[in-house]
Amino acid sequence: MLIFIVRRTLWTVLVLFTISVLVFVIFFKTPGVDPARAIAGRNPSPKVMAEIRHQFGLDRPFPVQYGLMMKKIFITHDLVSYSNQGTKVIPEIGAAAPATLSLVFGAAIIWVVMAILMGVAAAVLRGTVLDPILMIIALIGISMPVFWLGEVVNLVTQSRLHHTFLFSWVPPLGYTPFTQSPVLWFKGLIFPWITLSILYIGFYARVLRANLLEIQNEDYIRTARAKGLTERRVLFRHTLRNSMITFVSLFGLDFGVLVGGGALLTEVVFAIHGVGFLTYQSLTNLDLPVIMATVIYGAFFIVLANTLVDIAYAGLDPRVRPA
């Protein structure tokens, strides 16, 4: 088991290295693009441009440039955002993380619970009219662009029905840290949670249902029934337990992507200043250092999530464990 973890860690490092090189290549080496101008942001003065050239070693060989960039991001943490009056990027990302984590964790809890309920219900109620109804709902869920759904939710809760008792308690868009006011933190996150989770509920309910139905045809489920177990036990201890293998591994990947900034559309629409929002801002401002840093940090979280998922997979499926 130890060797397994060591191997996975080495692999993770390799992947991160590759990604960082790729990011670097994309941003610095794409034909027709001048990285100095991009880093400098809008309307740079010649003095700033010269400073940038020096700082980032743009007149030095490729590996040196790469090394300098990585040093700024990971070691000295003095990657500076020129478009944003020289704010330090790394601490900025750190400050934005709690908002993203709050959003993603809350949504994840909702979507896992709901997806399991829906998926199991659809599989159990197969043959009745409720099965296709649940699946159509799930299908609609995955067909809605999340940013549009967010806008519609805002339209209803902030504007059209805001004065009614249903939504008058909804605070204005934005994120309130938990330490500042737990109640506002909660109220301000409910609708972002719901919006973000709808897409995933739809997807996971369908995946789970398909998986459950597939597993129900497996021989070992037939054996379980032949043993005289109750249908409920067969469903939960055998069918659902085995479908968790796929469910958890998919979940881990999606969760990792979201934590790494994948929720940026939701954050933008609900004005939650998380890592994703930061990425978006840097896009509109063409703030290259911030974009690069958020991309690399995002990739880091996702690769980390992949590794954790592999380990979890081994925990769930003993066949995969090294002997």
């Binding site: 794409t30 759904l149 504007s159 992507v257 994948g262 990425t279 896009l283 974009i291 991309v295």
Partner: protein
């Protein structure tokens, strides 16, 4: 062959055993098509999708002949006719202080600003149809390009194996390792906002070309299509009929195209509608973030972005394109499910209820 009889006067006479009647065969494709045809919901979804395509295709017709507008030109001082009265497109009294301008809302009159105007005074309905063209062109185009290229690479990698496979698969893994949306954002930012587009040798694509988002989206989803197809190619390559072909001395090219490809095509056909749904959603997200379709072109995503500033006053500008996306993606998902069920060789013994 009958047994020779030696006994005499046997009441039961010997007869030649009858063989079962000829089994009339139907190709798996014909069977699958029949199953799909019978799936009414999937057929309805297909019709809806084709309807949306048709409506989008007639965008120029609508803009020119019905609404008589130019959906891409600013029209801040323009006017239109509502209930016989000539009205300016930008109404006074918008904004928090009621000092700004608000575009008119939906008139529900098909030839006069059906869904109202946006902040540039442009006809939302006409832009919606043109936006559909862009979104569908990019969505379908990128999905098809992605599937074709991924299939070719998968065929080569899966069939030849060895070093070729290792190199190609590692390449795909690198793209795969990069989180999809981050990759899309990175590349799009660089290519689309630097206004110089992409120049590779003799090819030059301006930043406003729809080819850029198309190629970018096709690129980022390559590994997603490549992996399942390569898996399938590998399992087919091991089957005996391919070994038999090799033993007969068939050339590599012939084996790939006449033996392996037909068996792999079914995987691609199932993936295609779902890929189109995915690419349409991706394009709309990128366009919403302003790193997809660039002005003056419009797509459903850009219109939603335009509409987000007008959300509380003129919600239809943002809502309408979203509804179009939902309908399109929903129909593709339902169709994709139907295609998958039709092609599934282990089709459950489903009997139509009634």
């Amino acid at each position: 062959m009958a047994i020779a009889l030696t006994e005499s006067a046997e009441p039961p006479a010997q007869t030649t055993p009858d063989l079962p009647p000829e089994i009339s065969g139907r190709s798996p494709w014909a069977l699958a098509w029949r199953r799909l045809w019978r799936n009414r919901i999937a057929m309805a979804a297909l019709v809806l999708f084709l309807l949306i395509i048709t409506v989008s295709l007639v965008a120029p017709l609508y803009a020119h002949d019905v609404a008589r507008v130019n959906p891409f030109a600013n029209n801040l001082n323009g006017t239109t006719v509502i209930n016989g009265h000539r009205v300016p497109l930008m109404q006074q009294g918008g904004g928090i202080l009621k000092l700004g301008e608000t575009p008119i809302g939906p008139t529900w009159d098909i030839s006069h600003y059906f869904l109202g105007a946006d902040q540039q005074g442009r006809d939302v309905m006409a832009r919606l149809l043109y936006g559909g063209r862009s979104s569908l062109e990019i969505g379908i185009g990128s999905a098809v390009i992605c599937c074709v290229i991924a299939t070719v690479i998968a065929l080569i990698a899966g069939y030849f194996g060895g070093l070729v496979d290792a190199v190609l698969s590692r390449l795909m893994d690198v793209i795969w390792a990069f989180p999809v949306f981050l990759l899309a954002i990175s590349i799009s930012t660089v290519l689309l906002t630097e206004s110089s587009g992409l120049s590779i040798g003799p090819f030059h694509l301006v930043a406003t070309s729809l080819w850029l988002p198309t190629l970018i989206i096709a690129f980022i989803y390559l590994p997603y299509v490549y992996r399942p197809i390569r898996g399938h190619v590998l399992s087919v390559s091991e089957k005996e009929f391919v070994q038999a072909g090799i033993a007969q001395g068939a050339s590599d090219l012939r084996l790939i195209f006449s033996d392996i490809l037909p068996n792999v095509v079914s995987v691609v056909i199932v993936l295609l509608p779902l890929m189109i749904a995915t690419t349409i959603l991706t394009e709309s997200a990128l366009s919403f973030l302003s790193i997809g379709v660039q002005p003056p072109n419009a797509s459903w995503g850009t219109i939603i972005s335009d509409g987000s500033d007008l959300l509380y006053t003129r919600p239809w500008v943002a809502i309408a394109p979203g509804i179009m996306i939902v309908l399109t993606v929903l129909s593709l998902n339902v169709l994709g499910d139907g295609v998958r069920d039709a092609l599934d060789p282990r089709a459950k013994l489903r009997v139509e209820a009634g």
